[in-house]
Structure formats: structure tokens, C-alpha cells
Symmetry: C2
Subunit: 199 residues, 2 copies
């Protein structure tokens, strides 16, 4: 192929296929005895982007939903090299930023320069949680796995011995741009405790 | 939960988790002997949306990329009820529109009325292939599985005895809004034949 720019873009598109093989600590909703029903990061990213499409009206400070969708789609691509770091894995979080920074440079570096820069900036913006879009995206990225857990009777919470205190401790930082989703998540956690899904 | 509108939205979000279990005739790039490496429609939708993010510059007539991303994210949700219809399954295409129409009514019908209408319209717009966005999305939805096939040495083409004539016959209708992607797809198919991936 002679189009050098398109060739680089296709190389990136083919590389990110690997995200479909990065496994998470979340289960797909369905038979909890089915050992194949674990979620991967590509599926999570699609679902997260769908939450942006459907729940956009709950951002307190205005957001560009197109940008939130893009954040959702690309936010986990670094996991191709860095692996998924479970939200409650304190040891894994010690070098998460370093591992993911290297991964971002390599993977987004496959793209033509202007797109590499755009993707790096968007990914960093999400990680820094400072803009309206990043803060709203953080809420959606919290809600998605909580739903997976709630609707599998707390399968992953129990397997990983996660407590309600640990889940509650993450809420404030993640819901700065959505009072409605903050209330929803608090309700969900309390209801999960009441139902015995979460200790 | 007391917020009736949010309750409907969450019900939809939980329902569409099932797209992660709708299997396609495409393989994930990787060990071609690994029986688990088949792609599902949630993974495909994520990848398709990423193609929109990266290849948007190749639309000949201007497109709203946010809209193309949304189309990519939702276009296969009907398969939760209707199943995936393989591109070369002529019998399956006889009642595809009917099966998918019913599915759209039921699944998008879980949403609050204004969002149900918005999703139905967006899905219909994609299916009808008339607007710039729908035509450009069609090109991306063609390119994504072709790449999966090419980079697995034509695994699914061979398994399903698909010929280059059948693939070439789909190009014109799917690439009305991108001369660059039309050229790319033609190059890819000819190269696949040359390499022996496709008859």
C-alpha cells in the first residue's frame, strides 16, 4: 500500500484489536457458573461509551458528549501493554501511571503525529480528571462495573473480598460532575449490602 | 430507586450487556488455533467506533463524527434478539429487516420515549444508507471485518467458502462516501487473493 498515512492508521487499528484479549475483574451478566463470562476491556469500553450516549443529561456542568465517547473508547487502550489494574489492587496502582505512560507512547505512537498527539492529550485529560468531560467520564467508568457487579449478585466483589467501605471511598472523587449519578451509586451500594451482594 | 426515567435508562444499559454474547463470523487477530478467539458484536462495535475516530478524514462529503460513532455503538444492538446475520448468508437476509425491526422496537423501547425515538431514528438512518454519516459508517463497517479476515490469513473467508467476487460485489454500495477507503478495500482484497487468503 502506497498511502503512508493510511498505512500507519491501519497499523494502529490492527494493534488495538488486542484490547479484546485484555481481561478484567468484571463479569458479563448471565450464568454466574459459566467460566467464560468474564468481561474484556474492549467490551467494557463499548459499554462505557454507550453509558455516555444514554446518560449524558446527568452531567451537572455541560459536557461535549462526542468527547466523552472518544475518552471511553480510548481510555483502556494502554492496557494492551500495561494490563488491567483492578480498582482495589493497591500494589498494582504504585506503578500504574508509569506502565500506562510507556504503553500510551508506544501504542498511540503508531499513529501519524497529529493523531498521536490528539490521542495522548485525550487520554491524559481523562487520567487527570480536571475537565468537565473527564469528570463526567469518570462517573460513567465507575457506574459501568458497579452495574456488572450488582447484576451478578456481587460475584467479583465477593471473589476479591471487596467491602462496601472500599466502594464508597471511591465515589466522591469519581462523581464530581454528576449529583444524580452520585446518588444512584450510593443507592446501588446500599441496596447491594442489603441484598447480601457486598459486605 | 425512585427516579423513573433513570430506572428505564439503567434497564436498557443492563439489557445491552447481552451484546457481549452475540457471536460473529469474524475472528480476533491472534492464534488461529485458539477456539475462543471469535469476535462478539460488542467488541466489533467498539472497534468500528474506533475506526470512526481514526479514519474520519477520509469521508468525501462532510460528516459529524460524533454521529458516526453513535451509529457504530448502537448499530448491532438489535442482534441481541435477531442474532448476527453473516454478510454472505442470503437466506438469513430474507427476513433480516423484519427480525431486526422487532428487536429495535423491544430493546430501544426500554428507554424513555425521547431516547427511544432518537435511537430508532439513528439506527434506521444507518440501515437506509442515505445520509453522509450512514454512508461513511457503512464503509467503516465493511473495513473492520475485512481487516479481521486479512490479518487471520482469511480464516473466516475460507471456513465459509467466501470468494473474492462476493467480497468485491459489496464494495460499491458500502463506499459511496469514501474514495480512499474504496481504494484501500480493493487493494486489500487483491492482496488477499495474491497471498492465498481468499479464492
Amino acid at each position: 500500500m502506497e498511502n503512508e498515512r493510511l498505512k500507519q492508521q491501519i497499523e494502529f487499528i490492527v494493534e488495538i484489536d488486542k484490547l479484546k484479549r485484555v481481561m478484567r475483574q468484571s463479569r458479563i451478566i448471565g450464568d454466574i457458573h459459566d467460566e467464560l463470562l468474564w468481561e474484556n476491556s474492549a467490551e467494557h469500553s463499548w459499554h462505557f461509551a454507550m453509558l455516555a450516549v444514554i446518560l449524558g443529561e446527568y452531567a451537572d456542568k455541560t459536557v461535549d458528549i462526542g468527547k466523552v465517547m472518544k475518552m471511553a473508547l480510548i481510555h483502556d487502550i494502554v492496557e494492551i501493554d500495561a494490563g488491567d489494574t483492578f480498582a482495589y489492587d493497591q500494589l498494582g496502582h504504585l506503578d500504574k501511571a508509569e506502565r500506562e505512560g510507556k504503553a500510551a507512547s508506544r501504542i498511540f505512537g503508531l499513529l501519524p503525529d497529529n493523531q498521536r498527539d490528539e490521542m495522548m492529550e485525550l487520554w491524559m485529560e481523562f487520567e487527570e480528571r480536571e475537565t468537565n468531560e473527564a469528570q463526567f467520564a469518570a462517573a460513567l467508568d465507575l457506574v459501568q462495573p458497579l452495574l456488572q457487579n450488582y447484576y451478578t449478585q456481587g460475584y467479583s466483589w465477593q471473589k476479591n473480598k471487596v467491602t462496601s467501605d472500599q466502594v464508597l471511598a471511591r465515589i466522591n472523587a469519581a462523581t464530581k460532575n454528576s449529583k444524580t449519578l452520585k446518588n444512584f451509586v450510593e443507592w446501588l451500594i446500599h441496596d447491594a449490602v442489603k441484598k447480601g451482594y457486598l459486605q
